[in-house]
Symmetry: C2
Subunit: 421 residues, 2 copies
């Protein structure tokens, strides 16, 4: 496998053109934080690592947008934006790059308020398999000018081209924010509060759920003493008065569902600390079983089904010999589990797969999706036909074939191998 | 031209299959409120009128979504939803259907708060040119399961298939709302206030601009007595306290830009009346020149350029012998003009085209788009290459050819005829 570190769109184009000529597979490479096998290279070939292309090309404060090279990390970008009172509101794993986030249509805890990558990209520049460079849209906030090539590339996981430049929609850093936590006797109560909060019309900016096992992991890893019960974490933003009003409304909902009083974090350091804990939940799990690996599930269902999905998954997880934690972006109906297993023990690996499989099929039976935000890669290919039907997959394959006739772009990912047209 | 009124997806599929076999062009037909020539049939063929497919198939109140057949009108749908405390937040011309709104990626005055059709559709069912039916996504709010076929079809203007079913994301009817108007000595002041309001981080739900000519038309048509000056109309939503807070913040911005005091509408009838006036602005123009036709421009630029675009357009419009009014969805940078002309006078027609052309090229020079929300149809094809470049158009053509090899779906629209690959 050859590794390239291009420094410009032109260099990317030259590499791709040459690979296309010689039919050499290409794996575009961002922060490699994805966990569904997106950056594997089952067919060998060339890896284009975008880490040297991380310039901010233009910041338009009045338009609240920024033009960046695709290799920049979202955390670096937010450091750059902070002095301007702006931020980019998607927060996947630390280390993820903007290009990778586009490729996988990522989201994270703020998606409940700001939407996913789909909603926050204005325009892309993409090197196609031919080496030609496409600009997908103008810099206007909205447009009805032809096929939505921006959205076609977002979520295409490097199978249609290499993203070199991204124009992102930014948000104002909120005047005021409050983080509040509360816990519940059962996870169903916590899920029900999530549903009731969304139905109330309140625009929370975050609504995260952790089960008691995940809270225990957080305690162990961070030397904390949080009550080891199903827990919701809220973030409310806006003017000070509006934040207070939202808090009161949600507090009332919580009290109707057997929840504890809110514990608040208001000073900036305390808030940062709390979200850091949530952000690092996965690492906290490893604190419990340092030698183990984690399988992370990622399903999403219509909100009304979330309580049911979590309840029946919990039953299965609690009955398993493996240590499993639950973390959900509950406001979106997006539900993760971290399943810890010993990679040296075949039966544990199989059990982790069985649990993951169980949750995917349960979600699909509830009109949900096999992947809320982690993408298809190689890990979820086997579920796509059940979710979307063969005609949708054939349509994807037709598009892939039209744009990449030599199948050089990240082959073996996203479209299941049995699909033909 | 043969006309079909299918009653089911199966009937649509049979018509399409048969047309594909005999290479007969198809024009899918919704409310026909589009004004860029989308429903013309330059190649004859078959028109599939969706007006008999307007059932609500499922309402999921807890998930805040609804599954409808594509022929239903957005106004009918909102009547159906109102008793449930929900609404669908896009408001194009009265008469537009949900299917047509998907096909043209429409938006309207509420897009500043809720986004465009792109952001408010969860899933589609589409009859492809082969007659096969594709479901584009699950009913989950977010998903990373493969290519975004939903967004590919939204804005494809009937050139990729016939939309038969749409799952829409709904919104809670706001607890409280206030409509407020104010006027300004110059249109630049009004545009500057729009920019400053958006930058303040306040989430207005509507922010509409009318110039003094449009206000005059409104007065004539509705027997009103509004001050004939550049005018902004705001809508604020939320809890009562939050609405008051937003109003005060914007009032302060207005006073810093030479604006008048707010005139408020708070009771439901007064608010409805006011938005009705705005909604019927086009008809108000015809009240001034009943025998004339209207050319309606539709450009959109990054917000920071809006004041400049409007100012230089106004100069051109005011100098023209034709009567021209300005209406803008100012919060989005989306700017319309209504240009009235006598269809029997060739020079007037030419002048209207010259003005439209002037505004498109000015918008494109400001990194804007030739169509903010009306779509390409036949009217905007000639500008697409300048806006997006030939590589983007070739990519669109490749996709079109892959999915519709016989070019039966709405041929002659969206992709300029000179594009080949």
């Amino acid at each position: 496998m050859s590794l390239f570190y291009p420094r410009s769109e032109e260099e990317v184009s030259n590499i791709v053109k040459s690979c296309d000529k010689h039919k050499v597979p290409i794996v575009p490479y961002g922060g490699a934080t994805s966990i569904e096998g997106h950056t594997l290279s089952p067919h060998g070939g060339v890896c284009i690592d975008m880490s040297l292309m991380k310039n901010v090309k233009a910041l338009h404060v009045e338009d609240m947008d920024v033009v960046v090279e695709s290799g920049i990390g979202w955390m670096e970008l937010n450091e750059y934006l902070e002095p301007h009172g702006l931020f980019f509101p998607l927060d996947p794993g630390p280390g993820a790059t903007i290009g990778g986030m586009c490729a996988t249509r990522c989201s994270g805890s703020l998606a409940v308020r700001y939407g996913t990558m789909r909603d926050n990209v204005i325009s892309l520049k993409v090197v196609l398999p031919s080496g030609d460079v496409v600009k997908t849209a103008s810099r206007a906030r909205k447009s009805a000018a032809g096929y939505d090539l921006t959205r076609l590339v977002i979520g295409s996981e490097g199978t249609l081209g290499v993203i070199t430049e991204v124009t992102l929609r930014l948000q104002k850093i909120p005047q005021h924010s409050v983080v509040a936590m509360c816990n519940f006797p059962t996870i169903k109560d916590a899920a029900d509060v999530s549903i009731a909060t969304m139905l109330s019309g309140i625009q929370v900016s975050r609504l995260e759920l952790m089960d008691e096992v995940q809270v225990r992991a957080v305690n162990v890893a961070n030397d904390k003493n949080l009550p080891e019960l199903p827990t919701l974490m809220f973030e409310f933003i806006g003017t000070e008065a509006y934040v207070r009003e939202q808090t009161l409304i949600v507090q009332k909902i919580i009290s109707e569902h057997r929840g504890s009083d809110f514990v608040f974090a208001e000073d900036p350091e305390a808030k940062k600390e709390l979200w850091k804990i949530r952000k690092e939940a996965l690492w906290a799990c490893f604190a419990m079983e340092p030698e183990y690996e984690a399988m992370i599930s990622d399903v999403c269902v219509p909100l009304s089904r979330l309580a049911e999905l979590i309840s029946c998954s919990k039953k299965e997880l609690d009955a398993s010999p493996l240590v499993c934690t639950v973390i959900a972006h509950a406001g979106d109906g997006n539900f993760h589990t971290v399943i810890l297993f010993d990679p040296n023990q075949e039966d544990q690996k199989r059990e982790a797969e069985r649990l993951n499989n169980f949750m995917v099929h349960t979600a699909l039976s509830m009109e949900g999706t096999c992947t809320g935000e982690h993408g298809v890669g190689t890990g979820k290919m086997k579920y796509l036909e059940k979710e979307l039907g063969i005609e949708a997959l054939k349509t994807m394959k037709r598009i892939k074939n039209a744009l990449d006739p030599n199948n050089i772009m990240n082959p073996g990912k996203l479209i299941p191998p049995h699909v033909c047209f």
